[in-house]
C-alpha cells in the first residue's frame, strides 16, 4: 500500500510553527533596533581624491607598510548599473580590503547615481570623458605613465573598451565576471543560465529610454530575479528566519539587500547604446563599436590581461567572458576560474581567499 510522502505529524508542524513565531519575534526586535547607518556598506577607510559631476574617485588607506605597496596604482571600475559597494560589502567580505592586504594601491571609481538631468550622458562621456579623466588624474598624481585597471562585471566591459582606446595608459588589465561576447547559446536544460542576455536581446530599448529617461535599477533587477523567481522572492526571506535572532548575520543579510536594491539608475543614452551595440548586436567582438569617432578594436588590448570568471555564473556565463582570449592582442593572457557564482566571486566566503590573493600574485609576477 502506498503511503503519503508528506509525513508531518500535527504536533511537529505546530512545533515548527511555534519556533518560527519565536524567531520572528526576536527578529522583529532586532530589526526595530537597527538604524540605517548600522547597515553600513563600502566602509573601508578612504579619501575622495577626485570628483567630477556625480563621479568620485576614492583612494583607500593602505593596510601594509609603505615599502610593500605596489608602485603602479590600481583603479577598480564598477558597473554603471550596480553600486560600487559590491567590492566592499562588509569588512570580512571585501575585495578592496583584500587587495589592500596584498599591498595594492587601491583606487575606486564611484560613478554615482544619475539624476534625470543626466539622461543624455553617452558612453562617450563615460569612457572618453569620466574614465579617461580619472585615469589621467591618477597617472599625474602618482607620476606614472600607466595604471592597472580592475573591472567588475559591466565595469570590465567598459575597462576593456577603454584599454582598447587607450592602451598607452593601461599597464595591466584585470577583469572579473566580465561580459565580452553576448551571443550565448541558450541551453534548455539550464534555463536560468544566460537568461539575462536572452531576455535583453528582445528588449525594446528605444521605447524604454524614450518613456523612462534613465532606466531605474528595479527594472534591471527584474531580469536578475527572473533567473530564480521563487527562491529570490520568497525562499530567501523564508530562510532568513533562521538568522533573525543573530544580529550580526542579520546585518550581513541587510547589507546585501541594501546593495542589491539600492543600485543606481542607468543613464538613458548610455543604456540604449550598451544594450543595442554590446548586448543585442554583439558588436564588441565584431570590432564594430565606435565611441567618440574611434573604432574599438580588441586587438589593441596588448597589455597583460588576467580574466577571472565564476564557474557557476548564470548571469554572465563563462563562455561569454573567456571569449576575450580569441580577440585580444595581448600575448600575456591568463584565465582564472573560481568555483562560485556571479556575486559570490566578490562576497562569497571561499572567494575571499582566492580572488585578491591571485590578483596580487599575478601582478607581483609581472612587477616592473
Amino acid at each position: 500500500m502506498l503511503s503519503s510522502p508528506v509525513d508531518i505529524r500535527p504536533s511537529d508542524a505546530i512545533d515548527e510553527i511555534k519556533k518560527i513565531n519565536e524567531k520572528l519575534l526576536k527578529g522583529v526586535e532586532n530589526l526595530s533596533t537597527l538604524k540605517d547607518e548600522d547597515v553600513d556598506i563600502g566602509s573601508t577607510p578612504k579619501d575622495v581624491i577626485y570628483s567630477q559631476d556625480r563621479l568620485r574617485v576614492y583612494h583607500y588607506k593602505p593596510m601594509v607598510d609603505k615599502d610593500k605597496i605596489f608602485k603602479t596604482p590600481l583603479l577598480i571600475v564598477p558597473p554603471l548599473i550596480n553600486g560600487y559597494e559590491v567590492a566592499d560589502l562588509q569588512p570580512d567580505r571585501s575585495l578592496v580590503r583584500n587587495l589592500l592586504k596584498e599591498g595594492l594601491d587601491v583606487h575606486l571609481l564611484d560613478w554615482g547615481y544619475p539624476r534625470p538631468v543626466d539622461k543624455y550622458l553617452t558612453i562617450d562621456d563615460y569612457i572618453n570623458g569620466y574614465l579617461n579623466d580619472c585615469v589621467d588624474f591618477i597617472r599625474e598624481r602618482h607620476s606614472v605613465d600607466k595604471i592597472a585597471i580592475l573591472g567588475i562585471c559591466q565595469g570590465g566591459t567598459i575597462s576593456t573598451t577603454y584599454s582598447s582606446l587607450y592602451p598607452e595608459k593601461v599597464d595591466r588589465l584585470i577583469l572579473t565576471v566580465t561580459p565580452i561576447d553576448f551571443d550565448f547559446e541558450h541551453n534548455p536544460k539550464q534555463p536560468h543560465v544566460g537568461l539575462l542576455f536572452h531576455l535583453g536581446k528582445a528588449a525594446n530599448v528605444d521605447l524604454m529610454v524614450g518613456a523612462l529617461g534613465n532606466v531605474p535599477a528595479d527594472l534591471l533587477n527584474v531580469s536578475f530575479m527572473m533567473a530564480s523567481p521563487f527562491v529570490l522572492n520568497i525562499g530567501k526571506y523564508a530562510d532568513l528566519i533562521d538568522i533573525l535572532d543573530n544580529k550580526e548575520a542579520l546585518l550581513n543579510f541587510l547589507r546585501m539587500e541594501k546593495w542589491l536594491f539600492g543600485g543606481p539608475a542607468a543613464s538613458g543614452e548610455t543604456y540604449r547604446f550598451f544594450v543595442k551595440n554590446y548586448l543585442q548586436d554583439n558588436k564588441l567582438v565584431k570590432g564594430e563599436i565606435e565611441i567618440g569617432g574611434r573604432k574599438v578594436d580588441l586587438a589593441n588590448v596588448t597589455m597583460p590581461v588576467l580574466n577571472i570568471y565564476a564557474k557557476k555564473d548564470h548571469l554572465v556565463p563563462p563562455p561569454c567572458t573567456v571569449a576575450l582570449k580569441k580577440h585580444v592582442g595581448s600575448k600575456d593572457y591568463t584565465e582564472l576560474e573560481i568555483d562560485t557564482g556571479h556575486i559570490g566571486i566578490y562576497t562569497g566566503g571561499a572567494s575571499q581567499k582566492i580572488l585578491a590573493p591571485n590578483v596580487g600574485k599575478w601582478l607581483r609576477e609581472r612587477a616592473h
Binding site: 502506498l2 525594446n204 520568497i234
Partner: protein, 355 residues
C-alpha cells in the same frame, strides 16, 4: 490509514497549523502594539501582516530593514497560500494514485479551473464596470499566490509596488481595479482645468491615453495569466515528484522541506517558461504597453502644464540636453587649457635649461 485518508488528514493538519500560525502572529502583534485580528473576516490577512510589519519596524534598519520585514511576512503568507494549493492538489491526486489510476487528468482539471478564473478575464474586459470590478475581486483572491513574482515586475514597470501588493487597494490591486473612476481623475479631469478646455486636440490626447491604459490592463492580464499557468504547471510537476516519493516510500518530515521541493520545482518551471519566445513576446507586450501609457499620459500632461505656464517634460528635456552639451564643451575646454598649460610649462623649462 490509506493514502486518501492520509491526504485528508494532512489537509486537516495544515488547516490547524495555519490557525496556529495566524494565532501566533496575532499574539506577536498584540505584544508589539499591533491592532486587528488576521482571523477576523473583516481583515485581509496579508494586508494586516503588512501593517504589522510596518508598525514593528518603523524606523528600524532603514529602507533595507523595512523591506526585509515586509518580505519576511510576505514570504510567510505566500508559503501558507502555496501550502494550501499543494495540499488541495494532493487531496485530488491521492485517491487516483492509490487506485493505480492516472491522477493527472483530475489535477489538470483542478488547475485549469484555477487558471480559468484568470484566463476568463480578457473576454469580459469589454463588459461593464461592475463586471470588471467583480473579476478584479476574483483575481484579488489569488494575489498572495502571484504576489512574489508579479509584485516585483509591476513595481519595476511602475504599475505597483512589491510591498504594497499585500494591500488589495493599491499596487497590483489598484492595477486590477483600474475601472472608470480611477481613470477619470488623472486624465479626464484635466479637460476641466482653466486654459486646457476640451478641444478636439485635448480630447484626442485624452482618448489616446485612455486607450493606452486599456491596452496596458489587457497586456498585464495576459502576462499574469501566463504566470498563473506557469504556477499551475509547477503544481503538476510538484505532484509528480510527490507521487514519485510515495512510490519509493520516501518521506518529507517538515513544512520547510515541502516548500523547498516547491521552490525548486516552481523556479525550474518558470525559468523554462521565461526562455520561451511566446513568453518573451507577452512580457515585451506588457512592458511596451506600460511604457506607451506613460508616454501618452505625458502628452496629456504636456498640454495641461503648458496651459498653466508650468515647464513641461519636453522643455525640461531641452534644458537637460543643453546642460549636457555645455558641460561637455566646458570639459573639452578645460582639457585643452590643461594641455596648453602643460606644454607652456614644458617650453619654459626647456628654455630655462638651454638658457
Amino acid at each position: 490509514m490509506n493514502l486518501t485518508e492520509q491526504a485528508e488528514s494532512m489537509a486537516k493538519m495544515w488547516a490547524e497549523a495555519q490557525k496556529q500560525i495566524w494565532g501566533g502572529l496575532y499574539d506577536l502583534a498584540q505584544g508589539a502594539g499591533g491592532g486587528g485580528n488576521p482571523l477576523s473576516g473583516f481583515y485581509d490577512p496579508s494586508a494586516w501582516l503588512r501593517q504589522v510589519a510596518d508598525a514593528w519596524t518603523k524606523g528600524g534598519g532603514g529602507d533595507s530593514g523595512q523591506r526585509a520585514a515586509s518580505s519576511i511576512f510576505a514570504s510567510q503568507t505566500s508559503m501558507m497560500q502555496f501550502m494550501n494549493l499543494l495540499t488541495k492538489s494532493w487531496q485530488i491526486v491521492a485517491p487516483s494514485l492509490e487506485a493505480g489510476k492516472p491522477w493527472q487528468p483530475d489535477l489538470q482539471k483542478f488547475i485549469s479551473q484555477w487558471v480559468e478564473q484568470i484566463t476568463a478575464l480578457p473576454g469580459k474586459m469589454k463588459g461593464t464596470t461592475e463586471n470588471i470590478t467583480d473579476l478584479s475581486k476574483s483575481i484579488g483572491e489569488w494575489i498572495p499566490l502571484l504576489t512574489p513574482w508579479l509584485g516585483f515586475v509591476h513595481q519595476a514597470i511602475g504599475t505597483g509596488h512589491f510591498g504594497e501588493l499585500m494591500k488589495g487597494s493599491s499596487g497590483f490591486g489598484k492595477l486590477m481595479m483600474l475601472e472608470q473612476q480611477s481613470l477619470q481623475p488623472p486624465i479626464g479631469g484635466f479637460a476641466e482645468l482653466p486654459g486646457a478646455g476640451l478641444t478636439r486636440e485635448t480630447n484626442a490626447k485624452i482618448m489616446k491615453a485612455s486607450d493606452a491604459l486599456l491596452d496596458l490592463r489587457k497586456a498585464a492580464l495576459r502576462y499574469d495569466m501566463e504566470i498563473a499557468q506557469g504556477i499551475g504547471q509547477a503544481v503538476e510537476r510538484t505532484m509528480e515528484r510527490l507521487a514519485d516519493l510515495a512510490k519509493k516510500d520516501k518521506k518529507i518530515h517538515s513544512v520547510r522541506e515541502v516548500m523547498q521541493l516547491w521552490f525548486q520545482t516552481a523556479d525550474r518551471t518558470l525559468t523554462e517558461k521565461f526562455c520561451s519566445d511566446e513568453f518573451i513576446a507577452i512580457q515585451n507586450e506588457m512592458a511596451s504597453a506600460a511604457l506607451n501609457y506613460k508616454l501618452k499620459l505625458r502628452d496629456v500632461l504636456e498640454m495641461v502644464y503648458s496651459a498653466l505656464d508650468i515647464p513641461t517634460r519636453s522643455e525640461m528635456d531641452d534644458a537637460y540636453r543643453a546642460i549636457h552639451d555645455l558641460k561637455k564643451e566646458v570639459r573639452d575646454l578645460k582639457k585643452a587649457l590643461h594641455g596648453l598649460t602643460a606644454s607652456q610649462t614644458s617650453l619654459v623649462t626647456t628654455a630655462q635649461i638651454s638658457g
